[in-house]
């Protein structure tokens, strides 16, 4: 294969995943959390595609397409939730939404 080895792609994927994780953990706006979640998913997708290339089989690409579809569905529901929250004049702050506190 020409260009960098699969290993380099995997490192990029790992970095993307951890960046997304950091965003999920640190940011307070649900919108940004959703965006960070997208980054995590994309990191996973990159790893899948890289392994697919490495093994010479397309199963990893199939998996990545399924992940994409699921991510899209999840975004639909997440955004619907955010819109519903906004309609109810709730604060769009993940820390303030704690009625499920034990």
């Amino acid at each position: 294969m020409s260009g960098p080895d699969v290993v380099w792609y995997l490192c990029v994927a790992a970095f993307l995943f951890c960046t997304g994780a950091l965003g999920v953990l640190i940011r307070r706006s649900p919108l940004i959390v959703l965006l960070s979640l997208e980054i995590m998913l994309n990191g996973a997708n990159l790893a899948l595609i890289a392994f697919a290339r490495q093994s010479g089989r397309q199963d990893g690409q199939i998996f990545a397409l399924a992940v994409m579809a699921v991510a899209a569905s999840e975004v639909v529901v997440g955004l619907g939730l955010i819109v519903a929250m906004a309609r109810r004049r709730l604060d769009l702050d993940v820390d303030k939404l704690r009625t499920l506190r034990g």
Partner: protein
């Protein structure tokens, strides 16, 4: 005949169950009729059994009958088995007959009480238990009946349960009886170990093969039970307190039948006592001591029922004396006559108490002869029978016991002297009671509170049984005249052959001296209480405090147990049991509330937890693999 015996046993039980199940649907007096009829049926059935036995030849009069195998334990087995023989039929007749009269009397006495039904259910239960005791064909059923009569006694003493004194008396009776039950159980254990059975036919022939100390222990255990049940020294303190129960209860349970169960036990198991002669003599000695102590205490009692209760204790002492020296038939004969006149005395006293609206204090009574003439005559008959004046019933039975004691050697002669002193005391305290209550001028109290009996169902049920018993107390002793005419002894001979046979001289001497002493006692009572020619001597504190038995037992048993219980509560139960339970619950609760702080409700902290866990798990996997 066998079927009649089973009917006799189960009829009262059927009544008790029926009254319990019918509950409020049954009229209150209906419960009384039901109970009375069932005991009446028992009496008729007992008569049938008696007639059946009469038809057999004297040597062939033992008929066991088994319903089913009740318990099996390895090689041991116990059956639901009754024995129809002269002794059990004798007791059946006494229990069912006197029981019938007393339950009939209760219809009138307990009329108007709110809990009449419960009373009659308990009375029927008691009659069943007593019949089970006397009809049982093995010692296990006897013990079962023993325990059940103890239970019925507890239930009936504490019948008026709103009274704390009644509850306390019921508990006292039950606890003291339980001591006797425990000693009896130990005796039965030993018997099972030695002979492998508890059936009468299996155990008694083998009595000779028991070792020396085993035989003594067994006899002692049985004696312990008899002493507790019959309120003899040293387990006698419960009987006076048991007068808290209604008067018919005192008549039936604590005079005529239950307290005589101890005497029956000794006669039935006489084979076991005869191989432990010291214990048998101990029984006679206890009986003699009791009759003396009880007679002395009765002299200073002011409650009419308590005088009669102590007199019961004393008379049972005579019975123990009789069976202790081996005069079994004489003891049983006295049991029968005592049932007649003691029940009579109690029931007549009950009429007096009813007429005076519940008053029992002799000092408040007086001159009731005028208000209750027929009751007075019935009471007089009973008192004369009790004092042993011929031709009334007590004379025939009591004197034959004393004669038998005389024939028993030097020990018996000492007992004879005690018995004679007792005869004097008996006359004294009995007529003290009679004169205080019935003679003299009517007291102010009597005038105020007296109300006569009406001639209705209540009145009839109170009067007729008393009348019947008066007749029996008067003429019932004519069944046996010592030495000369002995149907009772002959009847019981196959079952419990007498060990001693008093000579005619001893019989005559005992009779004469006893009658003289009895009349002397009556005379002394008349001197002091009726004619008022002398002042009653100031009573000793010893007598008034009942020889300090209650105080002794309190200090010896009750206080140490309370101390031990308190100590255990403070040292063991509170710290260990409560503490550990509370500790566990506190620990779990605190664990829960600490875990609760994890539920922050913040999505971010949950996500952080997931991320941290993933990091750790990945590390673990990397290191391990």
């Amino acid at each position: 005949m066998i079927a009649a015996a089973w009917i006799c046993l189960f009829a009262p039980l059927g009544a008790a169950i029926a009254i319990t199940l019918l509950g409020q649907r049954l009229m209150r007096r209906g419960a009384g009729y039901l109970a009375t009829t069932s005991v009446g049926m028992s009496f008729v059935a007992a008569l049938v059994s008696f007639a059946g036995l009469l038809g057999d030849s004297p040597d062939d009069r033992s008929h066991p009958s088994t319903l089913w195998r009740w318990l099996t334990a390895g090689s041991l087995h116990f059956d639901l088995r009754i024995l129809v023989d002269p002794l059990s039929v004798f007791m059946m007749l006494v229990v069912a007959g006197v029981g019938f009269l007393i339950v009939w009397y209760s219809i009138g006495y307990m009329d108007g009480d709110d809990e009449e039904r419960r009373y009659f259910a308990y009375m029927a239960l008691f009659v069943f238990s007593m019949l089970l005791l006397v009809q049982g064909g093995n010692l296990l059923l006897l013990l079962a009946g023993w325990g059940l009569v103890g239970l019925s006694s507890y239930l009936l003493i504490g019948f008026w349960h709103e009274r704390p004194s009644a509850i306390a008396a019921a508990k006292k009776a039950f606890v003291m009886n339980a001591i006797g039950d425990a000693t009896m159980a130990i005796a039965l254990f030993l018997l099972i170990q030695r002979t492998g059975s508890l059936d009468f036919e299996a155990v008694f022939p083998r009595a000779g093969s028991l070792g020396g100390w085993a035989a003594n222990l067994i006899a002692l255990g049985l004696l312990g039970g008899a002493v507790a049940k019959s309120a003899q020294l040293p387990l006698q303190t419960w009987l006076p307190d048991a007068m808290e129960g209604p008067t018919p209860v005192s008549a039936l349970i604590h005079a005529a039948t239950m307290v005589t169960a101890g005497v029956y036990l000794i006669v039935r198991t006489h084979a076991l006592f005869e191989v432990a002669p010291r214990v048998e003599e101990l029984a006679a000695g206890l009986g003699a001591a009791t009759l003396l102590v009880a007679g002395l205490i009765a002299l200073v009692q002011t409650d009419i029922k308590r005088v009669i209760a102590y007199s019961t204790m004393s008379q049972i002492g005579y019975m123990f004396l009789g069976v202790g020296v081996g005069a079994y038939a004489n003891g049983m004969f006295h049991l029968m006559t005592h049932a007649f006149f003691k029940a009579l005395l109690f029931m007549a006293a009950g009429i007096v108490i009813h007429a005076l609206a519940g008053e029992q204090d002799l000092r408040k009574m007086g001159g009731l002869r005028r208000f209750l003439p027929r009751t007075y005559w019935a009471f007089l008959v009973g008192a004369l029978a009790l004092a042993g004046v011929p031709p009334f019933a007590g004379f025939f039975s009591k004197d034959s016991i004393l004669a038998a004691a005389l024939a028993h050697g030097w020990y018996g002669q000492i007992l004879w002297v005690v018995g004679m002193v007792g005869a004097f005391l008996t006359g004294l305290y009995t007529f003290r009671m009679l004169f205080m209550a019935f003679w003299g001028e009517p007291s102010a109290f009597a005038r105020e509170h007296f109300h006569a009996l009406k001639r209705d169902v209540v009145g009839i049920s109170l009067a007729v049984p008393v009348g019947v018993l008066a007749v029996l107390a008067a003429f019932g002793g004519w069944i046996q005249f010592a030495g000369i005419w002995t149907p009772v002894s002959d009847w019981l001979e196959p079952v419990a052959p007498a060990l001693v046979d008093a000579s005619s001289l001893q019989e005559a001497a005992s009779s004469v001296i006893a009658v003289v002493l009895g009349i002397a006692g009556i005379g002394a009572a008349w001197w002091i209480y009726a004619a008022r020619r002398a002042e009653a001597p100031r009573s000793l504190p010893l007598l008034e405090r009942k020889f300090y038995f209650d105080e002794l037992y309190d200090a010896l048993f009750y206080r140490p147990s309370v101390l031990a219980a308190r100590g255990l509560l403070a040292l063991v139960e509170r710290p260990l049991v409560f503490g550990s339970v509370r500790g566990i619950s506190e620990a779990i609760r605190s664990l829960g509330s600490e875990t609760r702080t994890l539920q922050t409700g913040l999505v971010r902290s949950y996500a952080l937890a997931i991320a941290a866990t993933v990091a750790v798990v990945t590390l673990v996997f990397v290191v391990v693999r």
